[in-house]
Amino acid sequence: MTVILNQSFTGISIGAVLLLIALGLTLTFGQMGVINMAHGEFIMAGAYTTYVLQKSISSAGVSLLVALPVAFVVAGAMGALLEWLLIRRLYTRPLDTLLVTWGVSLMLQQLARDIFGAPNVQTHAPDLLTGNISPGGGITLANSRLFILGLALLCVLALTLILRLTPLGRRIRAVVQNRDLAEVSGIATGQVDRMTFFIGSGLAGVAGVGLTLVGPIGPTMGTNYIVDAFLVVVVGGIGQLKGSVITAFALGVLQSVLEYSTTVSVAKVIVLVAIVAFLQWRPQGLYTLRTRSLA
């Protein structure tokens, strides 16, 4: 029983990391159809932001809390810049966005290497987050994992509220459903695109802050996660927040259960096979968006 509970928690925490990373992609890929391979580098930007802030703010706890909004803005601004410079010229050619942003991601990695050096760096977690909670029965819940879980849920909540309740959210949804109709209705679709990209990339930055609690910060850290994040979005159903949430946690739990009973590599293979099989059965993913788009 203890094993099952501990493993479930590990699975949920893997799911939380996946969700945090996939959340921004749900917007930029799901809603806008841009295959942004540089999404991983926005995660990296968020992580390095945490590192830089920690150098100037001595208290690890304070610097982590400051890092969350700052990383959101830094990564968001990078995303908006990328959108303005390159992506807005490619909205009708989604596969080209893959190549262009792949190039951008390599450039950003090299840039990080030039600025911060090739070796990976570390941040110090606040003391509060290095321990764990033991509710008894041999169950341990790592505080850092609980923090990431909370962070992921908070981001989902915030994103849902923005999309449902704000004028910007309504405009985003309108553009996604039918760009041309939105445009003739007086919505500045270009601006909406940039804001969507800002939020999506900013969420990657927040994910980066969370990841500093788990592992090292390095120029290639984003590439470790980018494929998994795309899998979550595709399996969840493109543009579907609900689908991404369910898929992230399902994949996390599946991965950790399989890892426990087999090995890390075998688990990875089984998960990928399961995803391929799932997409044969439901190519559109878990949920689909009904759009009024003509295509």
């Binding site: 501990n6 925490s13 990391v17 009708t92 764990n132 470790n224």
Partner: protein, 417 residues
């Protein structure tokens, strides 16, 4: 948006194509197909200087470790030149960047031998890079001095192995754990040559000596997800963890280890790839009290080490730690110098013939070259990570251990190769 009409399969194919191309570029093409040049490369020793090659990753994922080795090599060359050089000739270092990419290592090794006509080359870190350059050095009959502990079970006539082989690091580490009564082991390693081979040896040892291996797990190189592995370790009832993880994975592993409530007291981890430099970057708070197995620590007592540490820090900064692979790199240049001087020539055949019994008063203590295996007699040391990030010795083998790369001296290892 009409652009959204791409299929998911198309997307996945695109992503996997990008991933595959990255993987392919990592494998690279086989280099050095020039098999016609089977004659020995002649080192150019005609002038007043002699070139020596330094082959390290100065960029890429291994740079964090290999740059320190490169620094230590440069220090040794500088000292030797200041003391008059080798056979009256000054050494000139030619640095090549292996860029953490094995085919590049082979390419650069060939360039050093053929174009620069170096008398000897010093460097490489990962077993993969060593395996990549081995045929090049053998083809041109040029010597390589390799400074890092490795998995053993290898011998090349043109490689001098200055780091520990398994009977000078892993076997003593197992002996130590056994003596402490820590007989139930969990093996955690990165998924490549060194950990897999090391764990094969550990399992053979355990079987013969009444220890049990209660679990064995490998994570992909660079993996940062250790939740499940740590849960498995925790549930396994092991006494200790034998850690052969390499590089950054250690950061994620030790963070997870600590936050799951495991400690050096409740279940110690013995690592064979974490030295002073890595301790510093992982964070002392995660490693305090954990064990490592090496032949040298910055804190190893002795005048030779005090001199080495002082010289290194004077050259590269007060806060720079020294480590085992650095020390092995440093002494490798001195050992080569002693061989050349004994031979009275830079000629490879003569240098090799002169190598047996060469000794050097190294920072780690006296080391002696074993001419038959081209390995070095070294003292094994177990150390404990302290709160200051330095490692202090808790046990040593009492004297240098004869190298035995194929573990011929151990009955339990008879089936391994």
């Amino acid at each position: 948006m009409s652009g959204l009409s791409i299929s998911r399969r198309g997307l996945l194919a695109g992503i996997s194509a990008v991933g595959a191309s990255a993987a392919l570029s990592a494998c690279g093409a086989k280099t050095g197909s020039d098999t016609s040049s089977d004659s020995a490369a002649k080192a150019d020793t005609s002038g007043s200087t002699v070139k020596v090659g330094l082959l390290n990753s100065l960029s890429g994922t291994m740079a964090i470790s290999e740059v320190t080795v490169h620094n230590a090599l440069l220090l040794a060359i500088k000292e030797i030149n200041a003391a008059g050089g080798v056979l009256g000739k000054k050494l000139k270092a030619v640095s090549q960047d292996g860029a953490s990419d094995w085919p590049t290592f082979a390419e650069k090794a060939e360039a050093l031998i053929k174009d620069d006509k170096v008398a000897a080359t010093f460097g490489c870190w990962t077993s993969a890079s060593r395996k990549a350059v081995k045929p090049v050095f053998e083809r041109y009959k040029s010597p390589l001095f390799y400074p890092v502990q490795y998995e053993g079970l290898e011998q090349s006539p043109y490689i001098f192995y200055i780091g520990a082989t398994t009977n000078q690091q892993i076997v003593p580490a197992l002996d130590y754990l056994k003596k402490q009564g820590l007989t139930k082991l969990y093996l955690v390693g990165s998924d490549y040559v060194f950990p897999r081979t090391a764990n094969k040896i550990i399992k053979a040892y355990a079987k013969a000596k009444g220890m049990t291996v209660v679990g064995e797990d490998y994570a992909p190189l660079g993996s940062t997800e250790f939740g499940t592995i740590v849960n498995k370790v925790k549930d396994s009832g092991a006494d200790a963890v034998f850690n052969t993880l390499n590089g950054d994975s250690n950061v994620a592993f030790f963070k997870e280890y600590k936050s799951s409530g495991l400690t050096a007291k409740s279940m110690p981890v013995l690592s064979v790839s974490i030295a002073e430099e890595e301790v510093k970057s992982i964070g002392t708070q995660y490693l305090e009290g954990q064990l490592t197995a090496w032949n040298y620590y910055e804190t190893t007592p002795g005048a030779a080490n005090e001199k080495f540490v002082a010289a290194y820090q004077a050259e590269y900064g007060k806060d720079k730690p020294t480590s085992d692979p650095m020390e092995a790199a440093y002494i490798s240049v001195y050992l080569w110098k002693a061989m050349v001087e004994k031979a009275g020539s830079f000629d490879v055949t003569k240098v090799k013939a002169a190598s047996d019994g060469i000794t050097f008063d190294a920072p780690e203590g006296k080391v002696t070259v074993d001419g038959a295996t081209q390995h070095v007699h070294k003292t094994a040391r177990i150390g404990k990570v302290g709160a200051d990030g330095l490692i202090t010795e808790v046990w040593n083998s009492g004297g240098p251990i004869k190298p035995d790369p194929y573990l011929k001296g151990y009955d339990w290892a008879s089936g391994l190769s």
